[in-house]
């Protein structure tokens, strides 16, 4: 039995003018501790699928289970969701932002938890500051700390590195990778960046657009998986795989 099971999920968006089929009959299984990437041309329903897995949208058909529990409307499952931007609340201090999830989920708020998490994500003691006083990279690290604070079963990453400058992006990739391995967390990453997908994942799922369907699944070889994302980029097996996925993507877009 898999940790996360997506079972025949289809989703259609309705508007006054049209019914748009975003996802068609998606099934996949993810094991605990696995890192999966979703890539594909825009409009292939990656983010929709992520929202469905998070339990934010009810799929038109099919089901999603985490540890055999349905996710939609389930108040007991905690899911970590990171967005393209940090979405830290500007009127809350860093500490209040980090402990927000704990308070909402009525978990105990340890007094030291914010500073411990800040240290874990490689930030100095900035608990009392406001988000505007931090740089983009630092803010995304705080967002990671906020997500990890509630000890989520699964981490859903919706292009969390795409708004950062290249250097911050590489650093944050390594940090996220290390922390996920350390806590043995399961994660799904939506990205446009083939390189990022190869460097971070165990498996890459390529979607074809309109309606979104699983087109192909790429297994990453064991020796690339073992490396940190930064090192993986200079591994001999990296470039051929990049070329292969690139060509597939090109073919899908035309």
């Amino acid at each position: 039995m898999g940790f996360l099971i997506v079972e025949n999920v289809s989703h259609t968006y309705f508007s006054k003018d049209a019914a748009t089929e975003a996802l068609q009959d998606i099934s996949l299984t993810v094991e605990e501790g696995e890192f999966i990437s979703f890539i594909g041309p825009s409009g292939c329903g990656k983010t929709t699928l992520l929202s469905i897995i998070a339990g934010l949208i009810r799929p038109t058909a099919g089901n999603v289970y985490i540890e055999n529990q349905k996710v939609y409307g389930n108040k007991d499952l905690s899911i970590g969701y990171m967005l393209q931007q940090d979405y830290l609340f500007p009127w809350k201090t860093i500490e209040e932002n980090i402990t927000l999830g704990l308070r909402l989920l009525k978990q105990d708020v340890d007094r030291g938890i914010a500073s411990k998490l800040l240290k874990d994500v490689g930030l100095p003691a900035v608990e009392k500051k406001y988000p505007r006083e931090l740089s983009g990279g630092m803010r995304q690290r705080v967002a990671l700390a906020r997500t990890l604070a509630v000890d989520p079963k699964i981490l859903l990453l919706d292009e969390p590195f795409s708004a950062l400058d290249y250097q911050s992006k590489l650093k944050l990739e390594d940090l996220v990778f290390k922390m996920l391995k350390q806590y043995n967390k399961t994660a799904i990453l939506v990205t446009h960046d083939i390189g990022e997908a190869i460097a971070m994942s165990d498996r890459i799922i390529l979607f074809s657009p309109r309606p979104g369907r699983i087109h192909e699944i790429f297994e990453i070889s064991e020796d690339i998986r073992r490396l940190t994302p930064f090192q993986a980029r200079s591994h001999a097996g990296y470039s051929p795989l990049f070329q292969q996925i690139w060509k597939e993507l090109e073919r899908l877009e035309h």
């Binding site: 998070a54 934010l56 108040k75 905690s78 899911i79 970590g80 969701y81 967005l83 931007q85 979405y87 609340f89 500007p90 009127w91 927000l100 999830g101 909402l104 989920l105 406001y130 505007r132 509630v150």
Partner: protein, 264 residues
């Protein structure tokens, strides 16, 4: 030339510029009153209608010494502040209700538009009949004039809060009330403050018109009374007092804004 020296000079220039602006502002004020006084005493303008600063000042001194002016100021100020707070508060609550029940807001949409375009002071006579010719009617006028526009503006701001903040809260299984408290309301504080600023002016209009209609006290009453007995010293004095207090209220709201919104 080191940087410290340059910085000192820069600050000096800034201070100098500020002094000049203050000087011209003061000059304009004094110039206005001097011109008014001269025009009136030389009969360039009719002193019976336009009065003069010295007459107004004498009248003010008389009314201060017998204490009557304070009763009028108190009365009007109390009505205005209360009307202003009620208008904004009820506007915010109505906006929250509309946000909470989206279907209700769709149903009420055309009625809000109608109510907003209607001149609220026209409700005066009805209010007076319904609530009695007293302070209650006047405070209601002060509130009613700002409540609908506050509702519309604040509701729009509630709806424009970035949906991704709500997404973050949803992943933490937040309830609707928690979403309102943690994201919707605090994100809209700047808008609420700016409606407060607009409402300062609106409440004065409501209250003064209300006093025109029924009151036997207050600055609006003094204006209408002065008009009836053709005492324009009284009318212009009341007007100047209103200008001073309306400005003070506005300044207070600005101070509140600085304290509340320190994270922007």
């Amino acid at each position: 030339m080191n940087i410290k020296e340059l910085h000192r000079q820069y600050k000096k220039r800034l201070a100098k510029e500020k002094r000049w602006i203050r000087f011209y502002q003061l000059l304009l004020l004094i110039g206005f009153f001097v011109l008014w006084e001269t025009a009136s005493s030389n009969r360039w303008i009719d002193p019976l209608i336009f009065s003069s600063p010295s007459r107004i000042f004498r009248l003010l001194m008389d009314m201060i010494s017998d204490g009557t002016i304070f009763i009028h100021i108190n009365y009007t100020l109390f009505e205005t502040v209360l009307g202003f707070i009620l208008g904004t508060l009820i506007g915010t609550i109505l906006a929250a209700i509309l946000w909470w029940f989206p279907t209700l807001s769709k149903i009420l949409d055309p009625y809000l538009v109608v109510l907003n375009s209607m001149p609220k002071v026209a409700l005066g006579p009805i209010l007076i009949v319904a609530l009695g010719p007293g302070m209650t009617s006047i405070i209601t006028m002060g509130a009613i004039i700002s409540v609908i526009i506050s509702t519309i503006v604040i509701y729009t701001s509630f709806r424009n809060v970035d949906a991704n903040y709500l997404k973050v809260l949803q992943t933490f299984n937040a309830t609707k009330w928690q979403m309102f408290k943690e994201a919707i309301l605090p994100a809209s504080f700047p808008t609420i403050i700016s409606t407060l600023k607009v409402n300062v002016g609106l409440s004065w209009v409501g209250v003064i018109v209300g006093e025109f209609l029924v009151s036997s006290q207050g600055l609006g009453y003094l204006i209408i009374y002065g008009f009836q007995v053709f005492n324009f010293n009284l009318v212009l004095m009341s007007l100047l007092i209103i200008a001073v207090f309306a400005t003070l209220m506005y300044q207070l709201v600005e101070m509140l804004e600085k304290r509340l919104i320190k994270n922007e």
